[in-house]
Structures are given as structure tokens and as C-alpha cells.
Subunit: 268 residues, 2 copies
């Protein structure tokens, strides 16, 4: 079920710049009882990312209402896409773009992420992310690197892949952000050159700040992940997941994942 | 006017992976009297690029027929898009993708590129291309870098922008490939880390080879462009264009652009 510019439709113009160039941004978020979870953060992030592409962002109430119309009180996952709309052929952005907004919703059982942190198995991806500071951090529609990385494994027992950049620094998972704990210090990769700075990550950073806990946003090499006391991945749909296995290496829970998960749901 | 999977339509599914992730490839090409120009090269390139993404490519006759149906004997420009189609949410490519093919056509006056090489003014772009060898050379739908680069100028007297990578090597124009002549040697940038290896470029390389003329495919720095005897940009729609001005620097024609343009149309 989807709304395109507020109208029930599954149809996008074949000439939309979202298709032609990936010229747009998106959000994927959890819906509970018909309400978008962490909406204020998601809207702020969408507005920020749109601004990086010089794309006007619809008002928060417009998007929130559309999610609620589609969700009709159910639990599930919503996706919002904003594109620069149509225009003549060619890369030049139209001076007055007519933004296309697409809201889709899929109902799914209420998540249990809040109650319990899932343990997952992950692998290293072979693909190395290219570095592009102009697009780093934002969730734009140019996601072929993620597609190629996710295509590296079919084993359903592997839940995520860890991505490094072309300097071999660890950036994130394919589908979520990374936190590790090393010698009692909470750390997460710096994302100024590549990767997506997701809403779950920003909520954890804010929660840590409110609790007076330092988080080191820094360059993290693969050895630091292997030496960590706890390794966690997070995103808006699945919350915090604890890495129990990374290829040959295994970890037992040591409490950080449960703490971060609690922060994620409690933070203002 | 467009055909989506062979059916007259302007409508793409809002859940298509071409929109969601830019998960697809495309071609833009000239049509003369209803026939796609340089079709054999365009199809070979489309098939190659699709294979890099592990995307099945429709048969050549299917695509050629669809272009001819839309063009109905006219001159103009056709665009072909192949995407990995629909599928469940998430980056993982479906094991048996149902490829979406989109053919659009816009009629336009017969081009004069074959008869006469246009002189153009170009600028340096500030944006630096990120390097991603896994996607370099192919014309995929992740084109935000080109959009950001093209957005750097509005002056209609500037026809193209020159792009460098993050090591400051010159890669291409925003919309076409680059050739320069330095001390009598024809040179074009190496595209193993970024950029698009277009059909006009490959025709010129083939034509030079057939004539026994060496082309150096190499790393080219901005100073080499400024010191060149002739600077040219090429693509499938506009043919060869000669750079007459690059910011403060100007050039008079010295014959190479006319030669390359002749090769472009003559080559087998």
C-alpha cells in the first residue's frame, strides 16, 4: 500500500529523477499502533538529508499524517522517499523542483526489540566503500554499494555484513550502524567520508550525552572490532542487535547491548 | 512517450529497486530516422554493465524494436533503463529478479554533430569523484555525484564541467568523456576507479586502433589539460565537442577534434 504525493497509488513517473539518478533521500522506520516511532528524529534527519541535496522537504505534519493514514492503527514498517521529481533530461536540477513524496507501509507483527536484544552472526564484506564526503552520512537513493555488499552472502544464518572503506577502516554494517566497547570505552565509526548516520545511532549518541557517558566517534580498524568486549549494530527497524559471532570469533554478552537498547527507547 | 516492459506507460512501481537503490543501468542514445545510432555498441555496453550488477539483459531485438516503435521514423534521443525490478524490502537482490525495462523517446531535430564540431566553454568542478572500482566505468543509476557537479553552475554559456577524483586526477566531463592531445599524443583518462566509460569513447578508441594510432589511457592531471594542444569531450548524443575555453584559458582549433569526430561516425 502506498501514497504518491498523498494519492493512493503504486505508480511513479518513469521520468522521475529518483529513478534516473537516485536523486533523492529516504527513511525506513517502525510504526507502532499506527504511530511512527521516533518521528521527531526521523523527520529531522529527512529534512537534514534533503537540505544536503538542496531538496525542499514537505512539512512534518503532511508526512506524519500520510504514514498514519496508511498504517490505520497497525504495527509495521513505513518507508518515506523524497525525490527531486520530474524535469527535462539531463543532470541539471530544475530550479524549482516539484518534489515527489512516496510513503509505503507494510504491516508486520509488533517488534520485540524493546524487550530483548537479538544475538546475531556477522561477516566481513569484501566490498570497500568509496569515500565521498559530499554524500557521507546522508541516506540518499544511491545505494548500489549496499546492494553489492548484501549480495556477497545468501546464508540465512548470517544476519549482517561489516563494511570497511578503501583505507580499511570499519564504517558500519550493510544495514545498520556499529558501536563497540573497548576497555570500557564506547566507540562508533566516524562517518565524515562514507556511510549513513542513522537515527538509532544519533539517539544512542544523545542518550549517552544525557547520561554523561563519553562516546568516541573515531576511526576504527578491524582489529579493534575483534578485540572489543562487545560489538553491536543498530538501526531504526531492528533496534540494537548484539554480535555474538564474527566469522571465527565469538562473544558472550557483557551487558552493554542491553544498556544501549534501553537508552534507545528511553531517550528524549 | 515511454514503454515499461513493452507496454505503453509512464508508470513505474513505487517499490521498484531502480528507485529504492538505483539498482540498475541505463543508456542514452541518438535516434536517426527511427533507428538507434551505434546500436551494436550501445547494446554491448548495456549488456556488459548489467552483467557487472548480475542483472539479466533483455535480448537486443526486444530493445531495438521498442526504440523503433516509440521513434516511429523520427529523429531524437532514446533512453533505456534496466532495473532489478521489485522484491521484498531490503538490499538483498532477489535470486530470480524480474528485470524492469523502460524505454523513453523524445523527438528532436536531426543533429548536426556529424557535419560540424561544436566549440564549447567548460569549467572545473569543485566536487571530487569518490573512487569505487567495483562500479567504475559502468553507467548505473547512482548518479548523485553528477547531479551535484552539474548543480555547480547555472550560466548557460558554460556547457560542461571537468571532474577530478579525490586524488585530483582528471576523470571526465559531467556528461561526457575527455580526450586531450599533448605533444602529438592522444590521451584519455584511465577509468578503473571512477567515471563512466561511454560508447563514444570506446568508438574513438576502436577507430584509433584500426588506424594504428596509439591512445594513451592514463592518469591525467589538470596541468596536462591546460598544456594540451586540443581538448575534447564526447558523448553519444552530442558527438565530439571541442573545448575552446576552460575558465581563463582559450584554444584555437588544431584539427584533432574534426578528425576524432569523423572517426566516431566512420568506425565499424
Amino acid at each position: 500500500m502506498s501514497l504518491v504525493n498523498g494519492v493512493p497509488s503504486d505508480c511513479l513517473s518513469a521520468r522521475d529523477r529518483g529513478l534516473a539518478f537516485g536523486d533523492g533521500v529516504f527513511r525506513t522506520l517502525r510504526v507502532r499502533g499506527g504511530q511512527p516511532l521516533w518521528w521527531k528524529d526521523h523527520y529531522a534527519k529527512l529534512e537534514h538529508d534533503a537540505a544536503v541535496l538542496n531538496l525542499p522537504c514537505p512539512q512534518t505534519t503532511v508526512l506524519q499524517d500520510e504514514i498514519e493514514r496508511l498504517a490505520a492503527g497497525q504495527d509495521g514498517v513505513a518507508k518515506l522517499i523524497l525525490t527531486r521529481g520530474g524535469g527535462p533530461r539531463g543532470y541539471a536540477p530544475p530550479p524549482q523542483p516539484q518534489v515527489t513524496r512516496i510513503v509505503t507501509f507494510d504491516s508486520s507483527p509488533a517488534d520485540s526489540a524493546e524487550q530483548c536484544v537479538a544475538d546475531i552472526s556477522v561477516r566481513w564484506c569484501d566490498l570497500r566503500l568509496g569515500r565521498q564526503p559530499r554524500l557521507a552520512g546522508i541516506k540518499h537513493l544511491n545505494r548500489l554499494e549496499n546492494v553489492l555488499a548484501r549480495a556477497e552472502w545468501q546464508d540465512p544464518d548470517i544476519h549482517e555484513g561489516l563494511l570497511c572503506d578503501d583505507t580499511n577502516a570499519v564504517v558500519s554494517g550493510v544495514m545498520g550502524n556499529l558501536f563497540i566497547v573497548n576497555e570500557g570505552r564506547l566507540q562508533t565509526p566516524d562517518l565524515t567520508c562514507c556511510g549513513v548516520a542513522g537515527v538509532a545511532r544519533s539517539r544512542i549518541l544523545r542518550a549517552a550525552h544525557q547520561r554523561g557517558i563519553d562516546v568516541e566517534v573515531r576511526r576504527i580498524m578491524p582489529d579493534a572490532v575483534l578485540d572489543a568486549d562487545e560489538v553491536m549494530l543498530c538501526n531504526s527497524v531492528q533496534g540494537i542487535r548484539r554480535v555474538a559471532r564474527l566469522e571465527d570469533k565469538t562473544w558472550s554478552a557483557c551487558g552493554w547491548a542491553d544498556s544501549l537498547n534501553a537508552w534507545l527507547y528511553e531517550v528524549d
